[in-house]
Symmetry: C2
Subunit: 351 residues, 2 copies
Amino acid sequence: MVKIVIDAMGGDFAPKQQVLGTVAALKKDKELSVILVGDEPQIKAELSECEYDESRVEIVHTTEVIGMEEIPTKAVKTKKDSSTVVAFRLLKEGKADGLVSSGSTGAVLTAGVLILGRLKGVSRPALCPIIPNHTGGGTFLCDCGANLECKPINLVHFALMGSAYAQTVYGIEKPTVGLLNNGTEDHKGLLLQQETNALLKKVEAINYVGNREGRDIMFGDVDVMVADGFTGNIAMKSAEGCGKAVSAIMKKAFKRNLFSKLRALLCGDIIKNIKKGLDYEGVGGAMFLGLTKAVVKGHGNSKARSFAVSIEQAANAVRGNMTAKIKELIDGVDLASIQAQAQEAAAGQAE
Amino acid sequence: MVKIVIDAMGGDFAPKQQVLGTVAALKKDKELSVILVGDEPQIKAELSECEYDESRVEIVHTTEVIGMEEIPTKAVKTKKDSSTVVAFRLLKEGKADGLVSSGSTGAVLTAGVLILGRLKGVSRPALCPIIPNHTGGGTFLCDCGANLECKPINLVHFALMGSAYAQTVYGIEKPTVGLLNNGTEDHKGLLLQQETNALLKKVEAINYVGNREGRDIMFGDVDVMVADGFTGNIAMKSAEGCGKAVSAIMKKAFKRNLFSKLRALLCGDIIKNIKKGLDYEGVGGAMFLGLTKAVVKGHGNSKARSFAVSIEQAANAVRGNMTAKIKELIDGVDLASIQAQAQEAAAGQAE
C-alpha cells in the first residue's frame, strides 16, 4: 500500500476537484491510500457524494489556506495550520510516502525545501512538467521555473534527475537528454549553455544527445529537455500559448456557420484527438525533483482528471524508488573529474 | 518607385523560389522595381518561364554564395563576390532602398552591420519576426536571436524599434509593448528583466503594458514582445514546435482510415483555416531593425509566396519611412533621465 498525502485546499477548484480526483485515483489503484488535508467539513461534504473505500481515506483538518498571491516564504513560515504546510509536515514525519498539491507553486517549492528538505547532493531541486509532444507521449522539461538563475552544475543535476524520473516512473530505459539552446552546434548559447553542454557530454550516467532547440520540446527526439528555470518557463508557456491559439482558431473555424457546426459533429473524434495531443491535463502535474520524497505539483486549475493523474504519478514515483535513483545518479557523478575532462576537451579544441 | 535589392541565391530553394516570389511581388505592386543579385544564367533561366515587367528588373551577376554552415564574419569578409555581400554593397551605395535575403542569418546580420551599418544611436540592431497569434494577426517578437546577451538599454531599443516597425509598416497606431518574462508581476524575472521593466515604464514614446509570459506571444494582448535574443529565440521556436506537433497530429488524425480521409475532404477549408492560423510563411520574414535602411531576412526555406511577402515588407518599410521613425524614437529617449527616474521609483518602493 502506498500512502499519498493530498493538499486538498490548493488550486482554483479546491477542494471539490481534488476530492473527485482522489476518489478516481483510489478507484483505479487498489494499492493506494490517502490523507486528505484541508477543511474537514468541506472535504466530507464532497466525499459524501462519492462512492469510495473509506478504509483507504484519512482526513486531517486544517484551518488555513495559502493563497496564490501570498509571498511563499512568509506564508509557509506563518500559516502553520495551512493545508500545504500540514501536508508537508505529515510527509516529513513519515505519515505518507508522497505528496500532491495544486496550491501556490511558490508555497509548494518553499515548503518542499524548508519542511521536507532536499536530497543530499542535489544542488537545486527542480520542477519537471511533462509537455505533450508529437509522438503522443511527452517531453520531460527540467527545470520549468523553480530556479531562475542557474550554474552548469545545477543543469547537470537537472539532467540526472529528469533521467531518473523518466526511468523509474515511466519505464523509459535510457532516456535521451537534450540541452535547450538556440541551436544545435556546440558553440551555441550563452556561457551557461556552452559550459553545461561540455559537462553533459562527460556524464556517462545519462544518454546525452547534445543541444536542442525550442521546437524540439514538442517536435523533437529527446525524452528529457534540460534548461535553467527562466528559459524552461518561457519555453513551456510559449508552447502552451500556441496550443491555446490553435484551440481558439479551431473552435472559431468549426463554429463559423451551420455547415461548419455540422462538420464539427461529424469530426468530433478527430477534434478530440487534436485536443488530446495538446492536453496538459492528461499528463498530470510537475514532479518536484530533488526532495527526499516524491512531490507532485498539480496545475493550479486542476480538474479531477488531472489531479487523479498527479496522484498516480506520485504513487508511481514511490513504487519506482525514484528518489533513491536520483540519489544514486547524483552520487555517481564525480563533478570535479567531469569538469577537468570538459576543460581538457575545450583546451584540445582550442589548440 | 521603390527599389529593392534581392539576394537571389540565399536559401534552400534558391534561386527558383526567390525569382518566383519576386515576379509575384512585381505583379502585385506596380510601384516596385528590383535588382536580382546572383548567378545570372540561373536567374535568367527562371525568369524566362515567367511573365513580368522587364523594365522593373535588373540583374547583377555574382559568382559566389555564402553557405548556411559558413562562419558569418569570415564569409562576409572573404566572399566579396557573394550574392549577399554584393546585395548589401548595392544597398549601401544607394542603388536600392531596401534589401531582402533568405540566406544565412549570420551572414545577413554580419553584412548588415559591417557593410550597410547601423543607425546612429541604436545600441544593437535586432531581428524581429512576426509570430502568428490567436487574433489572426501577429505579434512582433524583438529580438529573436541577433543578440544573445543583452543589457537593459538594448531591450529598451528593441521596444522602440519594434514599435516603430509596427506603426510605420503595419499602421498600428499605438502598438502595445510587453516584456517577455516568467510572470506578470514587477518582481518577476532575472535582473535583466527587472531592470528593463523599470526602464520601459518610464519610456513615454511607447505604449508599455508590462511583463508578459510566453503564452502571450500567441495568445495574448500585446503587439510587440520584447526579449533578449536568446530568450526570444527559445520562445519563437518553442511555439513553432507546438505548431508543427499540431499539424502532425492533425494530419495523422485525418488519415487514420477511409472515413477520416473522407472527412478531411469535407473539412478542407477548416483544416486550411487552422493551418493558416499557424502560418509562418504568410507573415513574411523578420525585419532586421536598427540598420540605416530596411532589410528583411526571409526564412531559409522560403517558398515564393513567403519571399513575395518579405519583399512587400521591405517596400512598405521604405514607404513608411520606418528607419527615420526608429531614429526619431531612439533620439527622443533621454536614457540618463529614465534611468534616474527608474532608480528613484525603485528607491521609493524600497522605503
